[in-house]
């Protein structure tokens, strides 16, 4: 039987959840025994297999149209979709931008900041993505498992991945459940 395929990606987050994944240290070798790691920010494959993967893991919330596309693609191609970390599950710290709105944030960063050259303008090249409200993944696509934490411990990520890789349902409680 072929090893289950896992794909991961990060959206509007900080990469901390992926760093926490790496924090499982040597246990990563165990995970690579159990599962086939496909696309991921740390490999050179760029998106989940068109033929589908068993588990899709997304870190980060959604704050632009590009993130929306990633989320939709992952939902479409993953049998099981995992929202990893507070940004993915709740919106997280980047959701603080919802209080001031995109325009005000852009104005402060690119026009008003004290270190900016006088006359600076907000970038507007069509190559750049369009900003939206910052959202949790479940606001855009259905999620099968929410793994909160900022970031969730390596122990939690190891548990979740190894359970899913072995066809079981992870249950998060006690030491495996924290929102900070």
């Amino acid at each position: 039987m072929a090893k289950p395929k896992i794909s991961t990606d990060w959206m509007c987050g900080c990469a901390g959840c992926h760093m926490s994944l790496l924090d499982m240290d040597e246990r990563i070798l165990q995970v690579l025994e159990l599962a086939d790691l496909r696309s991921s920010p740390i490999t050179d494959l760029k998106e989940p297999d068109k033929s589908g993967v068993d588990v899709g893991v997304l870190e980060g919330g959604i704050n632009n149209t590009a993130n929306e596309e990633v989320a939709r693609k992952f939902r479409q191609r993953s049998k099981i979709l995992v929202a990893l970390g507070d940004c993915a599950v709740f919106g997280g710290v980047p959701a603080l931008r919802n209080f001031c709105g995109v325009q005000e944030a852009l104005q402060r960063a690119y026009v008003d900041a004290e270190s900016n050259e006088p006359g600076s303008q907000i970038p507007n090249d069509p190559e750049l993505a369009t900003m939206t409200k910052t959202r949790a993944i479940h606001e855009v696509v259905p999620v099968d498992y929410n793994v909160p934490g900022c970031p969730p411990d390596a122990d939690i990520i190891f548990y979740v991945l190894s359970e899913l890789a072995q066809g079981r349902k992870p249950e998060l409680k006690n030491d495996l459940l924290h929102w900070d």
């Binding site: 509007c12 901390g16 924090d23 920010p41 740390i42 050179d44 931008r97 944030a105 600076s120 190559e127």
Partner: protein
Amino acid sequence: MTAQKITIEPVTRIEGHAKVTIHMNDAGSVDHAYLHVNEFRGFEKFCEGRLYFEMPSITPRICGICPVSHHLASAKANDMLTGQTPPHPANLLRELMHMGQIIQSHGMHFFELAGPDLLLGFDSDPATRNVVGLVSANPALTVKAVQLRKFGQEIIQTLAGRRIHPNFAVPGGVNKALQASERDGILKGVDAATQTIKVGLQIMKDWAEKNIEDINKFAVFPTGYFGMVTPSNGLELYNGNIRLIDRTGKELECFDPATYLDQIAEHVEPWSYLKFPYYKKLGYPEGVYRVGPLGRLNVADKIDTPMANEEHKIFKTLSGGRPVENTLHYHYARLIEALFAVERVQVLCEDKDILSTDILNTRKNWTGHGVGVLEAPRGTLIHDYHADENGKLTKVNLIVSTGHNNWAMSNAVDSVAKTYVHGPEVQEGMLNRVEAAIRAYDPCLSCSTHAIGQMPIQVEILAADGKLIRTLQRDSA
């Protein structure tokens, strides 16, 4: 033949979200290549109205690879804002945490992010040109690499109780003293960490010997160099003045980082969310400079720990005494810094005050404005806060490490594209080299735009009228 645009999207094995567009001219050579950094979150705005003492907890969420850098820079800004000068033992502990950060970040970058290119080759199969491939190719080395990162992360965990997004530094000091058994635990790991870094150095040197041609033509260009130094111009990563030297190595400035607005400004381009800092007196782009390992080792006259100092002496000979301009030597410089950090860990742990409980000064001398600066793994990190008399932030300015390197990265992309990419048949390995140019700077694009993101890669070769000629995918599965 009509002009083409090649798009590389996303750039992988970096932190953050970048996209490269390569504009080809009629003759089939590269006209210009652009590095678009494509994400934005807005910390500088949404932190307005928050309390200053929340910032060491909020700003680490800018980046999960270097949260400690933000945490400490934020605490330093708060020290100045409240006038609470930390006692000496607190500074020792903060620097110890910072060294843990440097070790884990540099270690991870060399072995796991950039390593596959060096160890497996720029042109090797993209399906295995990553850390998973390294596991098969050299399991023993991969384990060592994992353990090196673990050593750094465990220092952070010992001090703060967790590895990522710590709660440790507070205005005026830190919140937890170090126990003797914890200190001993850290010291036990020093030797193995040193050995692993030396293995890395040897790998780098061997590779450099075999690839000297690439080293000398891959994104080699002059810039200024910018980094923190000790009072005698030794390498310094936690606290000191900033030194800026020009392309010949001559000192242009040596200034108190709190006065950074007098020295540098940021230029904005419409095609990237990442701004371009530069030295005001020379203007943009004349005044661009590089930060991070290459920048810092060029700026420093020496390193105050012995093993790293020996390597630094060799490093200084690479360009006959002039500043080293080769982008690929970032990897070498990065390892020398990691060695310095491990040696520093030993020095700090052996300091007689490292176990002291005199770790917090609560006496305030309110100023309402604080600038906290240190050398994050990727370069000089600046946090600048203004608060009202009740402690609510009214203005926040952040210039984040990788940002200073923006012009250099763009230029590296441009230079490598022009050197290695020749149309119309574009090989995958050529494109990987363009990405490798970016990777050498170990960019933290989340940090630098205070944002992050990714998109699936697809290389589209378009005719000038936008008609799709060919598509190259790197994700075929």
